[in-house]
Amino acid sequence: MSHSFDDISQQLRRRHRKSARLKWISMGALGLAGLFLVLFFADMLNKGLPAFQQAYINTEVNYTEEAATDARQAIAEDLVPIVSRTEIREIPKEIRNDEDLIGTSEQKWLLVNGEVDQYLKGNRNKLNEEEREAIDERVESGQVELAFNRTFFTQGDSKTSERAGILAAVVGTVMTMIVTLAISFPIGVMTAVYLEEFAPDNRLTQAIEININNLAAIPSILFGLLGLAIFINFFGVPRSSPLAGGMTLALMTLPVIIISTRAALRSVPDSIRHAAFGVGCSRWQVVRDHVLPLAMPGIMTGSIIGLAQAMGETAPLIIVGMVAFIPDVGASFTEAATVMPAQIFTWSGEPEHAFVEKTAGGILVLLAVLISLNAFAVLLRKKFERRW
């Protein structure tokens, strides 16, 4: 029995409707995900961008004898409640460092107290009517103004909101990542090379392979516990240091690097290996001269992605003590330091609105770093991708 086109279209209509419905549902899911992303970014930008601005006041600083003991003498009396007390605290130090300053004076832009800063940004603050009018006048005359917040990028953490910056965390992150990469990259790559190019295919190597894959799925806080128990308690690595944090994160990054390196090695065609063996290369020469150079873009991409993952990690670092109040920009691998996500975590616990702003600002900096790292990985892959 044959069907006419009409019969068939009748039946088809239902199927087409069904596929159209599914298409709309999946597009809706994508749209929803996109919407959340947009909301997240809008919220972060809205809260975080003001953190990149800060109120400064232009005033004369008089380095007098009295100022060396009572710093408030250095500036006009009515400015004392407006200028940040962290700035005032600095003046005696400056004098102590350079005796010649005494008797001179200097016109300077100083940080303004956090409450005034918040008032200028239109946020909730503790200023009374009178003080607000006084500030408005100074803004009018150009003595007080909102400018780019260089303090945020040049200072470590502070309990005083206007002084708190992310530099200590950025430096801490860089040092921690240097340790992580220095440990996990060579070990990870060599492990993968052994498993992929040298190891016989037996029960033992299969068990190792399964374990490495499982390791990638272990909750990161467990790596923190391992780091605490082994690196800090057993080997005596200094607590809270980039060394301890970097070693812990290296454990976490290792499986990622091993898995991506193996995938990269496997994607090198066997014909290249045969060609190299055919001209009399030893196994190591085949790997070093032919396989590794071809796999390098894949290895680099995997390592950068593993590193980016480690960079955003907080949980294991809480355990090894890297979530701490660190006002000084670190200079050593064995001294206490903090990292960006930990700094964000610390700020998020502060009640003042100025710190809410800094939390969001910190997130924006972290996101910017992560996005540039990932973009770098993509670029690397595109640039070195070879065909054969």
């Binding site: 016989p200 295919d201 065609p269 014909s271 290249i272 290996r273 045969h274 060609a275 190299a276 063996f277 055919g278 001209v279 009399g280 290369c281 030893s282 020469q285 001269d289 032919h290 071809l294 070879r386 065909r387 054969w388």
Partner: protein
Amino acid sequence: MNSQAPVMSEQDIPNVGQPYTRNDQASHELSIRVRDLNLWYGKNQALKNLNIDLFQKNVTALIGPSGCGKSTFLRCLNRMNDLIPSVRTEGLVEMDGHDVNASKMDEVALRRRVGMVFQKPNPFPKSIFENVAYAPRMHDMVSRKADQDELVEQALRDAGLWNEVKDKLQEPGTSLSGGQQQRLCIARAIAVQPDVILMDEPTSALDPISTATIEDLMDRLKEKFTIVTVTHNMQQAARVADYTAFFHLGEIIEYNDTKVMFSTPAKKKTEDYISGRYG
């Protein structure tokens, strides 16, 4: 099977291997001697009691239907089968009085004397110059830059590629055409000055013109090298080979002077195969 037999002379085993007619134009100096060679892939026996003498400065073609073991046999000659974990080999493959399968034989040394050209052209993804210069440098055959340049030029000339690539030695080897790539692979193989060159269906991925070029090349190369080639193409065997071995199901059915083999095959199976009745 007495695989631990002391080194045997031809007189001890008069009719071992296949009886063959001497090719009067060819050299009769022994290059590789194979006795009672057996090979298994796991439990699967792929080569059965092979006995064959390969002569220096000749082209020997290995023909036979797919899966008959001719490529497997070829790879026994430079121990490329070592790379496959499940392979087990027994028997004697002797070159220059040395058993190539002996534990004290270094496969790297062997592969320097027995080069290989593969079915699909597989130049290294490096420059044309590097493709040829890499192996001699690795084997410490050249010490000065000038020696290296000279050696690369000589190898490319021998492979008949020099005139086509002399102006673009720094371009990637993979930018050449298929036939040129295969000649580059031949240049790469002869750059280390081996005694034997194994070719595993070197023209099967090439067009007829490139194939003809490679065949001419084989004809010239046999003045310097012993060539063992696997081919699916019987006309090719007839054109280029001095000797031909016919493989079937892991055994050598017939091994003879090519002209004799193609005009008056001794075995029925050979005749059926070369006349195209199966294969």
